[in-house]
């Protein structure tokens, strides 16, 4: 096979349109030209690094009693002071991100996986299966995410897997809707029929023909769902429902230290800022991708 970029030998009286092909990697690269995407990516990266590296650079363990409760920063109390039990806030803050991030990432990933699968199957089925799948998704969606998580946790207990399953379960239908919506116009296009006429299996059509064409909107949706998952996990922890009630966790920290907000604000403020920046980061990143994808669509529409 020739390896040179041969000049076109076609004798069509047309000009070749030379828009670069749009793949998901190219999409992210293009999105990075926007400031909002850069800021978002920077914030997410910063907090991920804090959560991962935090435990290794923390001056004390998460449960180390540094000074008398609610000491302001300085001296024995450390850079951020101590919390309501006298534990070092900085150490607890550095330990407290890992759990939230891992649970949020895992539950969102599971939810997105099942959501995309269900959405694509529903879009491709175009029959009763579509209705059955989507109506059952609607049933799950009828419960607010936090309510379902609360019910699950209060029934089974505040274990990590329960929280992950509850959030994945409530994330999936929302993703499924978007996936189905994005896939519906793709299903109608002729190239899907072309592969059907060859007798390609349904599984291969869904993964090989449909999925690549909805990656853009799915990336946007995933970052949005991640934002919500972080919020829900933090909220559950704030309500005292975290796998390790004594361990460090940003959500738990806010709850425990809110009473001292006026005298020693850092106990609550540090995790609040962290969660706010994290959700802002995922939100901005997703928005940047969404805008870029829309921009690409618009350019193509004008050709």
């Amino acid at each position: 096979m020739s390896q040179t970029e041969n000049p076109p030998v076609v004798d069509d009286g047309e000009e070749t349109i030379s828009t670069p092909p749009v793949r998901s990697t190219a999409l992210v690269a293009r999105a990075m030209r926007l400031w909002r995407t850069r800021i978002g990516a920077f914030l997410v990266l910063l907090l991920v690094v804090v959560a991962i590296v935090g435990p290794f650079i923390a001056p004390h363990t998460a449960t180390y009693f540094a000074a008398i409760p609610n000491s302001p920063p300085g001296g024995d109390a450390g850079i951020l002071g101590t919390d309501y039990l006298g534990q070092d806030v900085l150490s607890r803050f550095l330990y407290g991100g890992r759990g939230i991030l891992i649970m949020a990432a895992v539950s969102t990933a599971i939810g997105v996986f099942f959501g995309v699968a269900i959405g694509l199957v529903a879009a491709y089925a175009r029959n009763a299966l579509d209705d059955v799948l989507m109506r059952s998704m609607d049933v799950i969606m009828a419960f607010p995410q936090i309510m379902l998580a609360l019910v699950a946790v209060s029934l089974v207990g505040a274990q990590a897997w329960v929280i992950i399953v509850a959030i994945a379960l409530t994330t999936a239908p929302r993703v499924a809707r978007v996936a189905r919506g994005a896939a519906q116009p793709v299903v109608e296009r002729d190239f899907v029929e072309a592969t059907e006429s060859m007798g390609v299996s349904r599984f291969r059509i869904i993964t090989g023909e449909l999925l690549p064409n909805i990656l853009g909107p799915m990336m946007v949706e995933s970052s949005l769902r991640l934002t919500y998952s972080i919020g829900v996990i933090a909220a559950l922890a704030f309500l005292g429902l975290s796998p390790d009630p004594n361990g460090a966790n940003w959500g738990t920290m806010i709850q425990q230290n809110e009473i001292a907000l006026s005298t020693q604000p850092w106990g609550a403020l540090a995790p609040i800022i962290a969660i706010a920046l994290l959700t802002m980061g995922t939100g901005l990143f997703g928005d940047g991708i969404a805008r870029t994808a829309a921009g690409i669509d618009r350019e193509r529409g004008e050709e």
Binding site: M1, D11, D12, G13, I17, T19, D190, A194, S197, P212
Partner: protein
């Protein structure tokens, strides 16, 4: 610029375009040196292929430029007023009253939420001080003018309750409502059936003549323009390359491009091979300093590259932008191509047999007992208007339409209804090419992946061998092997259709089903694709079902024709015989309504055709 248009029996000039220049916002010229006049009551046709700038010129006459474009020079004189010098508010008042526009797609230009009566009223009220019921009589009159019912019940319909042709006639009524002096029609009949097209065209012609309206008719279809316009401007690469009377232009063109374009048009008389134009039209910004057509021109001499040739007069009311126009004119215009050397099918060797095929969409029966036979090495054209069931026939053969009963046999083997339940072997044998090359290729796959897919699916080849077969196949459809690494959006429409052909042929099928494969393409591209399909059919010994609405095209590719109407075959026979001497009234009607360069210039046929329209 030289715009020598010597006088003659010409109506008074209504609109005069002078040195129009349109650039992109970044300063790349898109349209240059466009000058022409339109007399009142006259229809000027503007023809060109995609990217030639014809629609851009049409919109400039309304003082409008699409997003990303700016009108940077020239004037559009309507009487004494230069439209291009007007402000937004003045333009707004002008549009719809003195100048009006009929867009290509009537379905998207009418508001789907408003009754047509309301929309017609809006046009009148927008440009008159009086409101209320005194427009009723005028609205009824407008409806009668475009041959639609004028009763209140009809006016209470929504656009979706009308057919495409009726919608377009409502569009015409709106455009003519305020008795404009200039009307711009942008391919208003593209997408309509020939019969509908014929009535819409005659409506345009009659209204323009009756109300002394100057009309600019933009189209890619030379045959339509020839039937409608008195004078025609041919555009290429942003410039008018030839301007003259329609008959003269198409019978003795002075510009090589016009000659090639005319040669690419399929004709009803004489089965002739079509000739595509080699090469590409240069895109804006990459146009050569000299004549833009020079790189593709067979008469090219070094002087052509020196500077852009002026639009010089070559005869009364005829000018061309070619320095060798005089030499071009010396040659009599050859009829396009050589007679097609069509090897007849091998009689008695049916490779595909349809028996009593009845197809349904839900409860509606769209095909009533179809019987067809495709012989080995034969091309059978299935023609008909939209809704005739021709695409359903093709889709049933390929197993894409599942709701059918009856029998379709491949050789002597019965085919299952859906492709999925057929055997791998029969799926390999029957390959389908889709109408729209923009939808039939997965945008996320490289051309190599797309073309190579059948090899993997049918287990024919893999790895190195598959790669070399893909490269071979791409070269067979006149693309280079380097295309394998490109993505569909880097390709033009014609190139994409070649890729689709390559995908269909790589598994060495015995039957190729082509569904309107050229209807989304320009004429010169269509010619090249038909040429390619014809060659491949001969060389590979294929049998082909060629579905099309384009009757003249059939002449250049098929040995047999089946005419479909409302789900039944009304006529079937040898192509030459059927087109020359149709037996059924439906076929006769279809042929009469088909615009063609041959008939357009013959006045007798012209009036005959109009007669046929009126009788309907």
């Amino acid at each position: 610029m030289t715009t020598s248009e010597p006088g003659g029996a010409r109506p008074a000039v209504a609109v005069s375009v002078r040195d129009l220049r349109i650039e992109t916002t970044s300063g790349v010229p898109v349209v240059m040196d466009v000058s022409f006049d339109i007399g009142s009551g006259e229809v000027l046709g503007v023809v060109g292929e995609s990217g030639s700038g014809k629609t851009t010129v049409g919109l400039a006459l309304l003082g409008h430029a699409r997003r990303g474009l700016l009108i940077t020079g020239g004037e559009v004189l309507l009487g004494d007023e230069d439209i291009l010098s007007l402000g937004d508010e003045q333009l707004r008042r002008l549009r719809g009253s003195l100048v009006s526009y009929v867009p290509q797609d009537p379905a998207s230009s009418l508001n789907p939420a408003l009754r047509i009566g309301v929309q017609l009223r809006e046009v009148l009220e927008a440009h008159s001080a009086s409101r209320g019921n005194n427009h009723d009589e005028r609205i009824a009159e407008m409806m009668r003018e475009v041959a639609l019912a004028d009763d209140p019940n009809y006016l209470r319909r929504y656009p979706h309750e009308l057919s495409g042709g009726q919608q377009q006639r409502v569009g015409l009524a709106m455009a003519f409502a305020n008795r404009p002096r200039l009307i711009v029609l942008d391919e208003p009949t593209t997408g309509l059936d020939v019969t509908t097209q014929a009535t819409v065209l005659s409506t345009v012609r009659e209204l323009a003549a009756a109300h002394n309206v100057a009309a600019l008719y933009v189209s890619h279809d030379l045959a339509v323009v020839a039937a409608l316009a008195r004078r025609v401007a041919v555009m290429y690469s942003g410039r008018v390359v030839e301007l003259g009377l329609a008959e003269e232009l198409f019978e003795s063109s002075a510009h090589p491009y016009t000659r090639r374009l005319v040669g690419a048009i399929p004709r009803l008389t004489g089965g002739r091979s079509l000739l595509g134009i080699p090469g590409h039209a240069p895109s804006p910004g990459r146009r050569p300093p000299g004549c833009a057509f020079a790189p593709r021109c067979t008469l090219h001499i070094p002087e052509c590259d020196a500077e852009v040739p002026p639009l010089a007069s070559v005869g009364p009311q005829h000018s061309a932008r070619c320095i060798r126009a005089a030499e071009v004119l010396k040659h009599t215009q050859a009829k396009p191509g050589d007679p097609v050397d069509m090897v007849g099918g091998d009689a008695g060797s049916a490779v595909l047999t349809l028996e009593n095929v009845v197809a349904r969409y839900g409860k509606t029966e769209v095909l009533h007992s179809i019987n067809l036979q495709l012989e080995h090495h034969e091309c059978l054209a299935v023609v008909g208007e939209s809704g005739s069931g021709k695409t359903t026939t093709a889709r049933s053969i390929a197993g894409l339409h599942r709701d059918w009963t009856g029998s379709i046999r491949l050789g002597d083997q019965e085919l299952e209804t859906s492709a999925r339940s057929r055997s791998t072997e029969s799926r390999r044998q029957v390959q389908y090419i889709f109408q729209n090359p923009y939808g039939s290729l997965n945008p996320r796959k490289t051309i190599g992946e797309t073309v190579g897919q059948p090899l993997a699916v049918f287990g024919l080849a893999k790895g190195r061998e598959a790669e070399s077969r893909v490269a071979e196949m791409l070269e067979q459809v006149s693309l280079s092997a380097g295309y394998a690494r490109r993505y569909p959006d880097q390709l033009s429409g014609g190139e994409r259709q070649r890729v689709a052909i390559a995908r269909a042929l790589i598994s060495s099928p015995s039957i190729l089903v082509c569904d309107e494969v050229t209807s989304a393409l320009d004429v010169s591209v269509q010619a090249a694709i038909v040429e390619l399909l014809g060659t491949l059919q001969r060389d590979l010994g294929l049998s082909m079902v060629f579905v099309t609405h384009n009757l003249p095209l059939v002449r250049s590719i098929a040995q047999k024709v089946a005419v479909l109407s409302e789900g039944s075959i009304v006529e079937y026979g040898e192509t030459a015989q059927l087109l020359a001497d149709p037996q059924q009234p439906y076929t006769q009607q279809l042929l009469a309504n088909t615009p063609s360069l041959d008939t357009a210039t013959a006045e007798a046929l012209h009036s005959e055709r109009r007669q046929a329209v009126v009788e309907r």
